[in-house]
């Protein structure tokens, strides 16, 4: 990366992008450094999509336009699941403050509906993502999930290159990006391919612990470049009324 681009990135990092989830912003020391690419890691049902959507909608309520690229579920299912949450506001979608895009449809239109992408395909996809972000002037972007996208990239180098280039260009647009990463349950790993976490600026880990047979959702900020963040494990709650909430996890051994 050229020196001028690096210093630009440092400049941007002094600004913070509030998630709007009170306890999370406290853990972050105010918010995610603007322009960061953050991996939201968790197994199926851990709350990755809900957390990302809440972040996007909270931003839109503060006047920051956002885009949500879904790969794992169709748009109608995504919106149906979100409609139950109080934070969800259909008007933000209708007004274009929150844009929901099915990346599979875009891929098909680009003729990228093959099982595995070539370097050229990946480059074309990257361009389209950048163009959409630029055209819509978004400040918050989600890819749900980067795991599904990486599945089509044939080599670790392609994955590294894709995420790095995506992160760099979005950072230059002062766009703060969350990428969801799917991992197997109860495995202490941050990504499927072991590359994504090294290129990301931050890692939010959504897990669970078992207590007397019940599962307690947990949340941990593993990494956040440019932020003096908390590293304690928090208990996470998801409710239709308040969406994602965090509270200190009780630490006593069972």
């Amino acid at each position: 990366m050229p020196v001028s681009e690096l210093s630009k990135k440092d400049e941007i990092k002094n600004e913070l992008c509030k998630t709007g989830i009170e306890e999370l912003d406290i853990m972050l020391g105010g918010g995610v450094p603007t322009g960061s690419t953050v991996l939201v890691v968790g197994s199926s049902g851990s709350g990755k999509t809900t957390l990302c959507m809440q972040y996007l909608i909270n931003g839109a309520k503060e006047g920051e336009r956002g885009v949500f690229f879904t790969i794992t579920e169709p748009l109608f299912k995504l919106t149906k699941n979100m409609e139950g949450f109080n934070f969800y506001d259909k008007k933000l979608i209708e007004s274009g403050m929150v844009n929901l895009i099915d990346l599979r449809i875009i891929s098909e239109r680009l003729g990228l509906d093959t099982e595995k992408y070539t370097v050229e395909d990946a480059s074309a996809l990257l361009d389209i993502l950048r163009d959409i972000a630029d055209e819509l002037n978004v400040k918050r972007l989600i890819i749900d999930s980067i795991t599904a996208l990486c599945y089509r990239l044939q080599t670790p180098e392609m994955i590294r290159d894709f995420i790095f280039k995506l992160g760099s260009s979005l950072a230059a647009m002062k766009c703060t990006t969350l990428l969801t990463s799917e991992v197997p349950p109860r495995k202490f790993q941050y990504s499927q391919y072991g590359i994504e976490e090294f290129i990301s600026d931050g890692i939010m880990f959504l897990g669970d612990i078992e207590r007397k047979g019940d599962l307690i959702r947990t949340f941990q900020l593993v990494k956040m470049r440019g932020a003096a963040h908390s590293r304690t494990k928090a208990a996470m709650s998801i409710s239709t009324k308040n969406g994602v909430e965090l509270t200190p996890l009780l630490k006593s051994r069972e």
Binding site: R211, K212, G213, D214, I216, A235, S237, K241, N242, E245, T247, P248, L249, L250, K251, S252, R253, E254
Partner: protein, 193 residues
């Protein structure tokens, strides 16, 4: 005789909670119905206060059915930690259901969320019914940690706390440690009147 006992309990609780941030009430199981009646009567006669009643003992539906006057009481919100775990799925607008009494963080979160919606000037009270039952569902150490959190968080928000411990022949050693975290202890005896 019963009315005298309930009136006596109400007076003791009212006096204690006026001057203490947190009170622990140790009572024999036989006096439990009288004590909760006294508590609910105290709550309903002070509609200007805001109360959160955490029940780990009885489903909130049962409590409301037992004390009919609670149906019209607006200043109490229940956090029911037992109904869902017992397979009772009836909804109630005045009640927040927590899936299991093991989800202590969720219980704490719901308590604070209710109080966040209450005007700052309103006097706020929390009842935990009971520490004895929380220890049945959880390991004592984690209940102790939970109780420390609750006591500290409620103190900073100026919420008065009443926690119940039911003793049989002798109070469990963990419960003894817990209940004495309160500013004041009330011991209910059959003969105290």
């Amino acid at each position: 005789m019963v009315n005298v006992l309930i009136d006596g309990l109400k007076e003791r609780i009212s006096n204690a909670i006026k001057i203490n941030q947190s009170i622990g009430i140790i009572l024999p199981a036989a006096n439990y119905p009288d004590l909760i009646q006294a508590l609910f009567e105290r709550i309903s006669s002070n509609p200007e206060e805001a109360w959160v009643y955490v029940t780990v003992t009885k489903p909130c539906e049962n409590i409301i059915n037992q004390f009919d006057f609670l149906k019209d009481v607006k200043n109490i919100k229940f956090v029911d930690c037992i109904s869902r775990a017992a397979g009772i799925n009836k909804a109630n607008d005045n009640c927040i259901f927590v899936e299991s009494p093991t989800m202590l963080e969720k219980i704490g979160l719901e308590i604070i969320n209710v109080f966040k919606e209450v005007d700052e000037k309103v006097k706020k009270y929390l009842v935990i019914d009971s520490l004895t039952n929380l220890i049945i569902y959880n390991d004592p150490d984690i209940v102790t940690e939970f109780f420390y959190h609750i006591i500290n968080r409620t103190r900073t928000r100026n919420i008065h706390t009443i926690s119940l411990a039911i003793e049989e022949e002798e109070l469990d050693k963990y419960l003894t440690r817990l209940i004495y975290l309160n500013d004041k202890i009330l011991k209910v005896r059959d003969s105290f009147i």
